[in-house]
Symmetry: C2
Subunit: 361 residues, 2 copies
């Protein structure tokens, strides 16, 4: 079967031939339809994040997958069921309690309890067939197979927004304003989620793009306001725009994370999602500490998602306007066109690699 891998010492993905995997007990065989590409994949490819499986010189890429069950094996899954898989899988010797209680997304990063498929320690999903434990597979409706690769990235936001709501649940939080930092695919999808249900009166999205730009057009068509970070740094938001009840950081910039404390309104919360490298900077820690306290501000870091978040994300995907999904997904490419699938230019928002076609069961 075809598989898209990155090889040790190389800095670009390639297609290789691999044997079709065989399910262990408790695992189903899944035929993969599409796998999304995101910034984490690019970091893995350039060696900035994650790592190869033990004793391996290549790793199958991909963690945003949608597929159909073709061999249920001894699981409860039905033949032909459309599914999205979770990203984390337990290591052989690790503490499995996080998985047993369905919260592998909360496991400590560096304790060796999990791999992240396609990211660190285990092959990903960008192959024609993969095997997965039943509990790693979340059923989705048949009519979501085309855009089902968006469920995993949406689940990242769903989880972070759950943490946000929880962090403000000890009082009568009445948010009006929210800003997403970052106009990449995760930023735009999150803006879409925040726009559903009119929870926020005013939405903003921060980027550093010149017009005309497809992401700015999407932001404005969602009724949100584009904020150019070159004119309005995050710390200047309260003065130049307004204090924000919610800041959703999806840029990976430590400067943005620090300045989120300044950007927040009293009682506000910042969700941090980026994964930056080390970076020293001079900050007024006294001022930030004092502002956190006197205005009851909160910051929540959030990574990964579990099967519950994937299920919720599938529901949320159904709530998003069709035009948003159509315009966020700028290309679906076969494995022969990896250059296009992994492109990172101003006209690319979200792409996926298509490994197989859906056939109605």
């Amino acid at each position: 079967m075809k598989a898209v891998v990155v090889q040790r010492g190389e800095r670009k993905p390639r297609v290789v031939d691999r044997p079709r995997p065989v399910s262990d007990p408790g695992e189903a065989l899944v035929r993969i339809l599409r796998v999304g590409v995101d910034g984490t994949d690019r970091e893995v490819i350039r060696g900035a994040h994650g790592g190869f499986p033990a004793d391996a010189d290549e790793m199958v890429l991909g963690h945003e997958a949608v597929g159909v069950v073709v061999e249920p094996n001894d699981t409860d899954l039905a033949m032909g069921q459309a599914v999205v898989p979770t990203v984390r899988s337990p290591t052989t010797d690790g503490d499995r309690s996080w998985f047993d209680r369905g919260e592998s997304d909360m496991a400590p990063w560096d304790a060796g309890d999990f791999h992240e498929r396609g990211i660190t320690g285990a092959d990903g999903y960008m192959a024609e067939y993969v095997t997965c434990p039943a509990r790693a597979l979340v059923p989705i409706p048949d009519d979501q197979v085309a855009e089902g690769f968006l469920v995993e990235p949406l689940s990242i936001s769903v989880k972070a927004l759950e943490q946000v709501s929880a962090a403000r649940s000890a009082f009568d939080w009445r948010p009006e304003s929210a800003i997403v930092l970052g106009n990449g695919s995760l930023g735009l999808l999150t803006l879409g989620l925040l726009n559903v249900g009119d929870r926020f009166d005013r939405l903003y999205c921060l980027g550093r793009r010149d017009r005309p730009d497809p992401s700015i057009e999407i932001i404005e068509d969602l009724g949100a306001t584009y904020v150019d970070s070159r004119e309005t740094p995050v710390a200047a938001l309260p003065d130049k725009v307004e204090p924000m009840d919610l800041v959703f950081e999806a840029t990976g910039s430590p400067r943005h994370a620090v300045e989120t404390v300044e950007a927040l309104a009293a009682g506000g919360v910042g969700a941090l999602l980026g994964v930056p490298e080390d970076g020293e900077m001079e900050i007024d820690a006294g001022r930030l500490h004092r502002k956190m306290v006197l205005d009851n501000k909160a910051l929540v870091g959030s990574v990964n998602s579990n099967s519950g978040h994937l299920a919720t994300a599938s529901d949320r995907l159904a709530d998003l306007p069709e035009w948003l999904v159509e315009r966020v997904v700028t290309g679906i490419y076969p494995p022969e066109r990896l250059d296009a699938a992994f492109a990172d230019d101003d006209t690319t928002i979200k792409t996926a690699v298509e490994l197989g076609e859906y056939e109605k069961r």
Copy 2:
């Protein structure tokens, strides 16, 4: 009547004679029994925090009060009811919605919606009589009048711990370890709260004191471990002690606030309560940002408390061991002994000024 005030340009409290206040409609007249002294009072006295009432050159001190209602006026309060008052009071022209929904503690710091009695903009409670709106007065049991001045500081911790629990309520948080940064009265009372109900397996308290020291003895008699910050900086806690599921910062040190991110275990939460002045420092913001995200860490700032927190704090005070309260309270002094009441030395933990004696109703 006697009142303890700080006068503009002076750096120590004094006793003055003031007319007994007269209740407006909706207010009760309260005879004050005792008023606790804390670090905020000392900051107010040295001009580092808060501010005088408009057009006034002196302010009555004190925000940790216990008293009895002596003129219910048109309120629902009973004559002789023991009460503790909230600290915030609405300003004439401010947005009162925070007060109307019972969450004045969540009002923005600098919007001019509230005074803090005895701290900024309004006279405090360190006087023989004060008037308070009925909704600012929280009934407590008669048998708490002696130590009732501890209800307000306890309510600060109660509120912060509510925010902590909320911030970890989106998953199955199973904390084992907690450290209180700061071995002052608030730190010790918080350690006492954390010790009730065996929620944590291991408790720690950080200070910078040499043995023998009364606070270290209290820490150890609570079954907690004393950590000397001169040997173990906050950032070194994971390596030298253990990663902490909860860090409760009660020192006002921005360095501690920043290093709390390092000290936390995966899924952990840091409560920030100190109110430092500005202070620049060089930090590895990239590393802290990344750790917040990859290990799902949270930080919650918390200030002040509302009447609900005071009521809960009264319940919690009843749960604390008697010996703890007796040893935390190192002195009760009449207004004639303000030097002793406001002392800040290594044998003083918590003091109060006694304005009146309790008579059973």
